[in-house]
C-alpha cells in the first residue's frame, strides 16, 4: 500500500503539468482532466484510509522513500513520505474538499476563457499541499510549503488584468515570504542542533536540546505558521486575497494554505511540548487573532471579506488549541476538519450568490435572496448554523472542545483564554447572523447598475449546487460523527498525544455559557439587521466599526512601521553608499586622474624633450650600475 502514497501527489501534479503545458487544444476538456485527477487523488486517499483502518493503532504509519533528494555527506534529504493518522486526515480533507471545489469551479468559471489554466493552478495547489502534509522531513515540507505559496500567488492573482488582484497576489506572496523565512531559519536551527531535519529523529532527540534552542525553533515555526495561516502579525494578506475567484478563496480557507500553519504546529508538537515559552506565544497569537478576525468580520460589507475575517478568527481558535499542548492538538485538528466543511460550504455559497448577482459583493445590495436561491440558502444556512456552533452541528462539538480545553489550561491563564474563546463564540454568532440576515432576509435592496442592467438572482447550475449540498452534509454531521464514541480522539491520539484537562468548571457549564453567548450574538445581530431595514449605503458607524472596516488599521500599521521604516532605512543606506562608499571610489579615481593629468604634461611632443629624458634615464642607470659595482 505504501507505494500508493506518491501517487496521491503525482495525480494532481500530472494534472497541473498536462493542463499548463498542453496548450489551447485542452481548452475544451481541461477542466474535466483537472477534476478527474483531483478525484483520483481522493480515491487513492480513501483506499489508503480503508487500509489504515484495517490495521491496529500502533501499526498505521506508512512510509515511502522514493529516492535521496540531496545526497551530501552529513546532510541527507530524502524524497520520502510519511502517512500517519494526522497526514491521513489532511489528505482526505485536501483531496476531498479540493475535488468538490474543482467540480464547483467547472460551473463557476464556465465563462472564463482561461479556465484550463485555472484548473492547472488548482491541481498544482492541491499537489503542493499534499506534498506538505505527506513529507517526512522538514525540508520536503518546506518544498510543499513554497509550492503552496506559489500556487496561492497564481490563483489570487488569476484575474491579473485587475490591478487590485495583481497587487493582492503580490501582497500575499510577500507577507508569506516573511513566514517562510521563519520556517527556513527553524530548519537551519534544527540541523545545527540535531544534525538532521527528518521528523522522527528530530522529535526523538528533543530531550537532548536546550530549552532555549527549542524555544527559538518553536518561535520560528510559529512565525512560519503565522504567515501561512494569516495570524497576527502576518494576517494582512488574507482579506485582500479575496480578489481571487471565489473557489480559490474556498480552497485557501478550507482545504489548503491556511490549514498548513496549524498542521505545522501540531506536527511539531514534540518541540512545542518541550518549550513552554513558545507555547505561550502560540496561545497568545491564537487568542489575539481570534478576536481580531472576529471584530473585522463584524464590520465588513463585502460578503467574502466578512467570511475572510471569520476564517482568520476560526484559525485563531485552532492555533490557540494547538498552543495548549496535548490537551488541545486533537481538537485543533478536529475543528480544522469541521471548519473545512462549513467554511468551504460558506464560500461556495457566497460564490453562488455572487454568480446570481452579477458579481456584486456588497451585502447591503443583497437582501431577500432566500426566495431566489433556495438551494444556496439552505446549504449556506446549514454552514451558518455549523459555524456559530448550533447544538448538534459540527461546529458546536469542535468549538466546544476548544473552549473547554482553554479553560482546562488552568490558573488565571485558563480563565483568560476561556473568556476569550467564549467571547469569540459570541462575536462569531453576531457577524455570521449579520451575513445571513443581510444576504438572505429582509427586503430586496439591489438596484440596476450603471448600464441599467438589473441583476436577476437565480439558482446556480447543478455543478455548483451539488458540491454545496455535499459540504452542507459534512457541516451538519461531521462533528457528531467525530464525537460519538470519541472516534476522532482515538484516531488521532497515537500521533499527537492526548491528555485530558480538568477544567475548573464543568463541561455542562461551559456548554451553557457558549449557548448564552451564541444567543446574545444572534439576538444583537437580529436587533440591528433583522428588525429594522438595512440602509443600502453603509452608515458612518462608531469608531470601532470604522476601525474594523479598515481591518483595524493593519495596513496603516504596516505602512507606517514597515514601509516607512524600510524607506528610512534604505534612504540612510543610500546616503552612506553615496557619501562613504562612493566617496572612497570617486576619491581614488580623482587622485589617479589628477596624477595622470600632471604626468601628461611630460608628453609635449617635442623630440628633444624625449631625448633629454632618455639621456637622463640612461645616465641614471649607468650611475646606478657604477654605484652598485663600487659598493
Amino acid at each position: 500500500m505504501e507505494n500508493l502514497i506518491a501517487l496521491l501527489i503525482a495525480a494532481p501534479l500530472l494534472g497541473a503539468v498536462v493542463l499548463l503545458c498542453g496548450g489551447r487544444r485542452l481548452d475544451r476538456t481541461g477542466h474535466w482532466i483537472g477534476t478527474l485527477l483531483a478525484a483520483v487523488s481522493f480515491g487513492i486517499g480513501v483506499a489508503l484510509f480503508a487500509d489504515m483502518l484495517g490495521r491496529s493503532a500502533d501499526d498505521r504509519t506508512l512510509t515511502q522513500n522514493l529516492y535521496t533528494w540531496i545526497p551530501v555527506e552529513g546532510f541527507q534529504a530524502d524524497m520520502a513520505f510519511q502517512l500517519d493518522q494526522l497526514s491521513m486526515t489532511f489528505v482526505l480533507l485536501i483531496s476531498g474538499v479540493g475535488t468538490l471545489i474543482h467540480v464547483y469551479s467547472i460551473g463557476y468559471m464556465e465563462h472564463d476563457e482561461r479556465r484550463r489554466r485555472f484548473f492547472g493552478y488548482l491541481n498544482l495547489f492541491v499537489a503542493a499541499m499534499l506534498l506538505l502534509v505527506l513529507a517526512d522531513n522538514f525540508l520536503l515540507l518546506y518544498f510543499g510549503w513554497e509550492g503552496v505559496g506559489l500556487a496561492s500567488y497564481l490563483l489570487i492573482g488569476f484575474w491579473q488584468h485587475k490591478p487590485s488582484a495583481a497587487t493582492a497576489a503580490k501582497k500575499a506572496f510577500l507577507v508569506n515570504r516573511v513566514g517562510d523565512m521563519g520556517l527556513s531559519i527553524a530548519i537551519m536551527l534544527m540541523f545545527t542542533t540535531f544534525g538532521t531535519f527528518a521528523f522522527g529523529p528530530v522529535f526523538g532527540a528533543v530531550g537532548e536540546a536546550s530549552e532555549g534552542m527549542l524555544t527559538a525553533i518553536g518561535l520560528m515555526l510559529l512565525l512560519a505558521a503565522c504567515g501561512k495561516s494569516a495570524q497576527v502579525p502576518l494576517q494582512s494578506w488574507l482579506g485582500d486575497a479575496m480578489e481571487g475567484p471565489t473557489p480559490v478563496s474556498a480552497l485557501i480557507h478550507a482545504a489548503t494554505m491556511v490549514t498548513a500553519g496549524v498542521y505545522l504546529i501540531v506536527r511539531s508538537g514534540a518541540v512545542f511540548n518541550a518549550a513552554p515559552d513558545a507555547q505561550l506565544v502560540v496561545v497568545v497569537v491564537g487568542a489575539v487573532t481570534l478576536l481580531f478576525g472576529a471584530i473585522v468580520g463584524c464590520a465588513k460589507d463585502d460578503i467574502k471579506k466578512a467570511l475572510a475575517g471569520s476564517t482568520m478568527s476560526q484559525i485563531g481558535y485552532m492555533i490557540l488549541a494547538a498552543g495548549l499542548g496535548p490537551i488541545g492538538y486533537v481538537f485543533a485538528i478536529m475543528h480544522l476538519v469541521t471548519h473545512g466543511f462549513f467554511k468551504a460550504g460558506l464560500f461556495l455559497g457566497a460564490g453562488s450568490v455572487m454568480h446570481g448577482m452579477n458579481d456584486e459583493v456588497d451585502m447591503r445590495k443583497y437582501g431577500a435572496l432566500r426566495k431566489y436561491m433556495p438551494v444556496t440558502f439552505v446549504t449556506f444556512g446549514l454552514g451558518y448554523l455549523a459555524i456559530i456552533g448550533f447544538p448538534g452541528l459540527s461546529g458546536f462539538f469542535s468549538k466546544d472542545m476548544i473552549i473547554e480545553a482553554a479553560f482546562a489550561k488552568g490558573g488565571t491563564e485558563g480563565w483568560i483564554l476561556g473568556g476569550v474563546t467564549l467571547l469569540g463564540a459570541g462575536i462569531t454568532a453576531f457577524y455570521m447572523t449579520r451575513v445571513m440576515l443581510l444576504t438572505f432576509f429582509g427586503e430586496k435592496r439591489w438596484q440596476p447598475d450603471a448600464q441599467g442592467h438589473e441583476p436577476h438572482p437565480h439558482e446556480s447550475p447543478k455543478s455548483m449546487t451539488i458540491p454545496m449540498v455535499i459540504l452542507a452534509f459534512g457541516s451538519v454531521f461531521a462533528g457528531a460523527f467525530f464525537e460519538i464514541g470519541e472516534r476522532f480522539l482515538t484516531w488521532l491520539e497515537p500521533v499527537t498525544g492526548y491528555e485530558h484537562g480538568n477544567p475548573p468548571v464543568s463541561a455542562m457549564t461551559v456548554t451553557a455559557a457558549t449557548m448564552v453567548m451564541l444567543l446574545a450574538g444572534v439576538g444583537i445581530a437580529w436587533g440591528m439587521y433583522g428588525r429594522r431595514p438595512v440602509p443600502v449605503l453603509a452608515p458612518r458607524g462608531s469608531f470601532l466599526t470604522r476601525a474594523a472596516r479598515r481591518d483595524l488599521y493593519q495596513d496603516d500599521f504596516n505602512h507606517v512601521v514597515l514601509v516607512r521604516g524600510g524607506e528610512h532605512l534604505t534612504r540612510s543606506l543610500v546616503y552612506v553608499d553615496h557619501s562613504l562608499v562612493d566617496g572612497v571610489v570617486n576619491g581614488t579615481a580623482a587622485s589617479v586622474g589628477g596624477l595622470s593629468g600632471r604626468l601628461r604634461k611630460l608628453q609635449n611632443g617635442y623630440a628633444r624633450s624625449y631625448a633629454v629624458s632618455m639621456f637622463g634615464g640612461t645616465a641614471i642607470l649607468i650611475a646606478a650600475t657604477l654605484l652598485m659595482r663600487a659598493v
Binding site: 608628453q603 611632443g605 617635442y606 623630440a607 628633444r608 633629454v612 639621456f615
Partner: protein, 99 residues
C-alpha cells in the same frame, strides 16, 4: 699611440652628437648627430677590441653599421615625406602627437 686616446675621442664625438640632438631643430642635423653618436660608439668598440686583443668589438661595430644604415633609410624617408607635407624640416613643427 695609447689606445685610450681613441676612447677620449669617442667620448668627445658622442658628447658633440648628444648636445647636437638636444639643441638643434633641423631634422637632418639631428640625424647627423645621431650618426655621430653611433660612430662614436663604433670607435669605442673598435678601440676596446684593440685593447683586449679580441674581435668582439669589431663584430659589434659591423652590426651597429648595419643598424645605422637601416635607420638612415627609414629616417630619411620619414624626413622627406614630412618635408613634402609641411615644407619644413623642423622637428618642433612635428609635435602633433602630444595630448
Amino acid at each position: 699611440m695609447n689606445p685610450v686616446n681613441y676612447l677620449y675621442l669617442a667620448a668627445l664625438l658622442f658628447t658633440i652628437g648628444a648636445v647636437g640632438v638636444l639643441i638643434r631643430k633641423n631634422a637632418i642635423v639631428l640625424f647627423m648627430c645621431i650618426e655621430l653618436m653611433l660612430n662614436a660608439c663604433n670607435l669605442a668598440f673598435v678601440a676596446f677590441s684593440r685593447m683586449h686583443g679580441n674581435l668582439d668589438g669589431q663584430i659589434i661595430a659591423f652590426f651597429t653599421m648595419v643598424v645605422a644604415a637601416a635607420e638612415v633609410v627609414v629616417g630619411l624617408a620619414i624626413i622627406v615625406s614630412l618635408f613634402r607635407t609641411r615644407h619644413s624640416a623642423s622637428v618642433d613643427d612635428a609635435s602633433l602627437m602630444k595630448l
